[in-house]
Point group: C2
Chain length 345, copies 2
């Protein structure tokens, strides 16, 4: 039984012998209502503990002040930090946040999008599943006027709103850092090949080696599908190269940790026989005795916050009178990953 009935605007109207429209307006301080009645209404509302039924308002206004968030999972600290940022800026703009996890499954991602659409969220923030290579389920949203902002794992096409950290500058810094430390054989422990960031990383890697006139050996670029087994396998490949790489750039901290475990098992001393540099700079690394030498910080909280900000911005633009056929424009925020060098502990 879903019913101890709450006071409604009608109830107030009846008790005061005025119309519901009057009550509604009075509660909104509409100028067309006399001070006298406005007061009476507001007082009674207070007294009855009246609270507007948002579901009714959502329905009527055709907007819900809710934004949907789709991420691959919540297990990775990167994403929960991002949601922290999203929730924070959303709530301070009176938006609520609906979250769901795609679990890196494309079908699931699709279903989630449909549900969010039916729930009439005002906008959606997405970090792509690693399976996603087509974007029709997102472009479809345009018909429904639901803006989408991607973050971190963003589509490689231009016609989307995105917030992401570019691999280039961070990767450049990281590799140059290693070169300056004297490393000449630098391995790359990269993510799935179809991911934008993986490609960027490999690209940058090659460029720098060329610039520095170092030999490029593609045997030093390995890919992992992000599972531990796959990472260990990739490490096995890398460590079997001759001469063995003396440093490894890993796609993120978790992967680096897995890799370091593997290296330890092979009786290699971390930061001595082999050095690691990774991405993300998660809080956990600060607790390690032998953390990666450096991490490219990707500011997940900020990415989330920026994405939410961008979305809310777009939503408030929509309110304004729409000039005929403005061409649709897409926003892009690139957060520069920054190399954080971990002090010895």
């Amino acid at each position: 039984m879903k019913d101890t009935k709450l006071p409604t605007i009608k109830e107030i109207a009846k008790q005061l012998n005025v119309s519901v429209s009057t009550v509604s307006r009075a509660l909104h301080d509409h100028p067309g209502i006399g001070l006298r009645t406005r007061m009476r209404v507001q007082q009674l509302a207070q007294q009855l503990n009246y609270e507007p039924n948002q579901t009714a308002i959502f329905f009527k206004q055709r907007r819900t002040f809710t934004i949907g968030v789709v991420i691959p999972n919540l297990k990775e600290e990167f994403f929960s930090q991002a949601i922290d940022g999203i929730e924070e800026t959303a709530s301070s703009n009176k938006y609520s946040v609906l979250i769901s996890q795609s679990k890196d499954d494309l079908e699931r991602e699709r279903r989630i999008i449909t549900t969010l659409k039916n729930n009439r969220v005002d906008g959606i923030i997405v970090s792509l599943s690693k399976q996603t290579t087509t974007y029709d389920h997102f472009t479809a949203l345009k018909k429904y006027n639901i803006p989408v902002v991607f973050f971190d794992r963003v589509p490689s096409l231009p016609d989307f709103n995105k917030v992401y950290s570019n691999m280039n500058s961070g990767t450049r810094e990281a590799i140059e850092f290693l070169i300056e430390k004297g490393h000449r054989r630098i391995g790359v422990l990269n993510g799935p090949e179809q991911m934008r960031s993986s490609k960027e990383r490999t690209e940058t890697y090659k460029q720098i080696l060329i610039k520095r006139r170092l030999k490029i050996d593609m045997g030093l670029v390995a890919h992992t599908d992000l599972t531990r087994e796959s990472t260990w396998k990739a490490m096995q490949d890398l460590l079997s190269q001759r001469p063995r790489p003396t440093a490894i750039v890993a796609i993120n901290d978790y992967i680096a940790l897995d890799a370091m475990q593997y290296a330890r098992q092979q009786r290699l001393k971390i930061n001595k026989d082999i050095c690691f540099v990774s991405y993300a700079n998660l809080p956990i690394t600060s607790y390690l005795e032998n953390p990666p030498m450096a991490s490219v910080e990707q500011y997940p909280y900020d990415q989330g916050a920026q994405a939410a900000g961008m979305l809310i911005n777009i939503l408030s633009e929509e309110e304004k009178p729409t000039r005929p056929d403005e061409p649709e424009t897409f926003q892009n925020i690139v957060i520069n990953g920054q190399l954080i060098i971990h002090g010895k502990r």
Copy 2:
């Protein structure tokens, strides 16, 4: 402009020259509708890409298939894991999840509850802010028939639904483990005194020492407010006791890590000069070279999943015909924290 108008049930009705009620029923496979028209309706619906407007349904049905979640923050892995569990079981039961963070601020917690109520969530899952000692904002929800389930940080009063892991069994195991390893001076690095779990832990600690006929020295019980500074300070106290404790039970992994850092700074060898046992057993500990000797696993994912399950259960009970004045009952799930002994690595 929030309006490329979507196909509605009315639209379908018009095109087929039937009434909206017929369409509605046809789409729900209501037996009162002939096979013939049912087919026509469903076909056209398909063709028009009709999707029901959930906001309308929410409004009409007075339920939203949404559950609200209030946690202190998303930064702690414990909570994001819990949300993982919540989201997972919620979504497989067709519920959506609305999250917000109290940031350990009571006022904020109150506001969130009000918003969730106005948004007509069907139920709420809460882990209390550490400031919360009064529960009127939750009891108020009973008037609105919104059930609440607490997890982890739960109220100490009996008349609430809760899921939590009891400190007793885990703490007992942990301390006995240490005693068996030969430790006689065991320190406790406890949380804020007002938290239920802190009290329980201290209580159990004393009991066991008594049972084992060991001397109780309250100088070995220190409190931290969970900040790193405070933890270090507590550690300073503990390490200055004479004889120095040879083992420490810390309230959770983060605190243990902070404490271990401090110990290292004091030139103590972890797991040799001083051992640590902590609570939570977060994934990160598996990456440490010298993890705590053992952790009491608290199964955050399961706590979340159980809490969601309990809530959804309560919600579906509500559907059933309510016998007059059943006394309200409250459910309790206690998850036994289990001591996980970390293998040497």
